[in-house]
Amino acid sequence: MTGLLYALASLGAFALVAGLILAIAQKAFHIEGDPMVDKIDALLPQTQCGQCGYPGCKPYATAVAAGEEEVNHCVPGGERTMLQIADLMGVEPKTVEQEAAAPRLAFVREDECIGCTLCIKACPVDAIIGAPKQYHTIIADHCTGCELCVEPCPVDCIDMVTKPELLEHWSWPLPDTKRSQLAHERREQHAGHV
């Protein structure tokens, strides 16, 4: 019987002390604030396309950082961005459902443009210049290819065109050897599996 008492006393006392320490620690080390938003925002491609269901990259980053949104909704960022965010957040990667098309540019057929400025209002990065009743032009270097200007256009004069490949921007592909193909496959497998 004394054994039972001893056990009770020692374990109980220990539990009490440990519980108190924990309780105090919880009060003392409570932290607030979240620098995660900026980190996630930095990973996003900043197309501001809204395909994630948020009005821009930053709002999406905020939602993801708050844990309210999955990491796989950035279509232009594709697999790579998803993996980076998942890595940063320490969550399980998810497949990106939509495949991002090749980077594209919006192009205004100027002779059809009526100068309504609706596309200018829609552009999230101010890449369209023009004034009312004037032709609008898209600054190719600024266009993120988000397609947000296509829908508002009342005369459907905006096309999405493939981004022209520039000689200066050309870069060597991986060598066409078995080995590099294998490496490539493994990378994809890895990305798909994780």
């Binding site: 821009g56 400025t117 101010d126 000689l167 870069s171 060597w172 060598p175």
Partner: protein
């Protein structure tokens, strides 16, 4: 101990310094003794709008224009750029995209000139005979106007290097006559046949940059060139000012960094240029072209090209007008059928393999090789696993560890590759040359560099987009606030009527205006 040996060797005049690594490929200098032949004019010359490192040019002529030899037909768009000149007289027949010597096989806007056969020369540029007493800045402008770019293969605009800068006084001018690539002999023949002109060119450079000493570096496999240069020096009585340095043959001694190290033992710090350590390095062909530009008033419209390769029946050194189609040159030397052959633009170590012979000779074309499948297949057999033998790092002239770098590039670990100084790779090809596993190391490095550049571009673009988006949001916010302020002002002066119907339309209008973006200021509502 090695330092002691080096001192002794130096005293014996055998070698100055030895850069690490390097290889000794078979020389194949088939055309070393072939005098330069003047190549006939082609019926059509094709001139790509960018033949140098830097910004491309824009055409000055339109279809149907008559041009004269040496006439400027495209002007440079930017500082690092030089104009393009007509190689002969004729008519501009079209301006359109045409393949160039680029690994992508992509084309570039090019001016096509149909030769009229007169070869009439544009006389606008006066020769500057009294160059010794001419302001270096004038000479420098002449070099730019004449479209001079490094003819050794790098085609960096020459005038940029020929500058006097008080912060970096130039002490030494180095003439690069090393020509370490196998097969190529264009510089070799140029030195053998135009030693005097090159020497004059060298003095022009010295005058322009204010250098006190100069060296002419030639590898010991070109005795004829060495003799010719020495003779020219003796004739000119220049023996004290200029020294011919004979270097033991080793690839890539012709690389600027390696050559400077070989001659002086100095390293160019990363990210710096030779001028930062008081050195200007010019290729002998460029020097000859500078001589022609200043003393003869001739813009750059022709160059010496070595046509060679184990599959070419009749190798030769040709003086070729820029813009001449390559297919024509090969045909001239007896090669019409390219099946099973590989055509290389430049030397076998650093040149680009062409996708076809339908490209023109450009300023960087120092050689054109037709290689039989044997020679090529040795270089491009199936890649085997790396056995980490370390031969690549032994051969690397900049002391990288190529096999680790290749692993990193292959597996897209670009940050690590940058940490391992991927961008210090000069793509000389020594590592691939010695690799027993036939790993295309240089290819992996090019892939890595390209991907890193792509990443940086994307990063910069995203950054710019973010800034634009944020400033747009801020502007909309500001406009909204201004609107609200104005409205409240209006309300104060004209208190709203009790009727709700009347108060809502202006509010809607205000919202619409707030969302109107770039042209908000000029929307009709705003003007009311």
């Amino acid at each position: 101990m090695p330092a002691m040996f080096r001192n002794i060797a130096q005293r014996l005049g055998m070698m100055a310094h030895s850069f690490p690594g390097g290889v000794h490929p078979d020389q194949h200098k088939l055309t070393g003794a072939s005098p330069i032949e003047v190549c006939e004019l082609a019926p059509v010359h094709i001139l790509p709008m960018k033949q140098h490192i830097g910004a491309p040019c824009s055409p000055l002529v339109t279809v149907g224009d008559k041009v004269l030899r040496g006439q400027k037909i495209a002007k440079s768009e930017g500082y690092v750029s030089v104009p393009v000149h007509a190689p002969t007289s004729g008519t501009v027949v079209k301006i359109e995209e045409h393949p160039i010597a680029h690994p992508s096989g992509m084309g570039m806007a090019s001016i096509f000139i149909e030769t009229d056969g007169d070869d009439a020369v544009d006389q606008t540029l006066e020769p500057i005979t009294d160059w010794q007493n001419t302001d270096p800045a004038v000479l420098r402008e002449r070099a730019r106007m004449c479209g001079l770019a490094g003819l050794g293969g790098a085609v960096f605009p020459t005038f940029i290097k020929l500058v006097r800068d008080k912060r970096f006084p130039i002490e030494t001018v180095i003439l690069n006559g090393v020509e370490c690539e196998p097969y190529l002999t264009s510089d070799h023949r140029l030195m053998a046949e135009y030693a005097d002109e090159i020497l004059t060119g060298l003095h022009m450079i010295r005058h322009m940059v204010g250098a006190s000493s100069s060296l002419i570096a030639i590898e010991d496999n070109k005795p004829e060139a060495i003799a010719a240069m020495r003779e020219a020096l003796a004739n000119a009585g220049d023996l004290d000012n200029v020294r011919v340095v004979v270097l033991p043959t080793r690839y890539p001694q012709g690389g600027e960094k390696q050559l400077i190290y070989s001659l002086t033992g100095l390293e160019i710090p990363a990210g710096k240029l030779p001028m930062h350590i008081g050195i200007v390095c010019q290729n002998v062909a460029t020097t000859k072209a500078l001589h022609d530009a200043i003393l003869l008033g001739k813009p750059l419209s022709e160059r010496v090209v070595t046509l060679s390769g184990d599959a070419l029946p009749d190798p030769a050194n040709l003086l070729v007008r820029i813009g001449t189609p390559v297919r024509r040159l090969f045909a001239r030397q007896g090669l019409d059928d390219f099946i099973g052959l590989q055509i290389v633009h430049g030397g076998p170590m650093m040149g680009e393999r062409l996708k076809g012979p339908d490209i023109p000779v450009v300023k960087s074309t120092n050689g054109l090789l037709a290689l039989g499948s044997d020679a090529m297949s040795a270089a491009h057999t199936v890649e085997q696993p790396c056995i980490r033998c370390g031969h690549c790092s032994e051969a690397c002239p900049v002391s990288l560890v190529p096999n680790l770098l290749a692993d990193q590039c292959r597996s897209d670990q670009f940050e690590k590759a940058e940490d391992y100084q991927l961008f210090d790779c000069i793509e000389c090809g020594c590592c691939s040359y010695v690799c027993p596993s036939n790993i295309p190391l240089v290819h992996y490095f090019r892939y890595g560099k390209g991907q890193i550049a792509l990443g940086r571009r994307e990063q910069a673009f995203a950054e710019a987009s973010r800034t634009r988006s944020e400033s747009r949001d801020a502007r909309i916010e500001r406009e909204k606030a201004e609107k609200a302020a104005r409205r409240s002002r209006v309300r104060k002066t004209h208190p709203p009527k009790a009727d709700a119907n009347q108060s809502s339309p202006p509010a809607k209008a205000a919202d619409a205006t707030a969302n109107s973006g770039a042209t908000a200021d000029s929307t009709p509502e705003e003007k009311q």
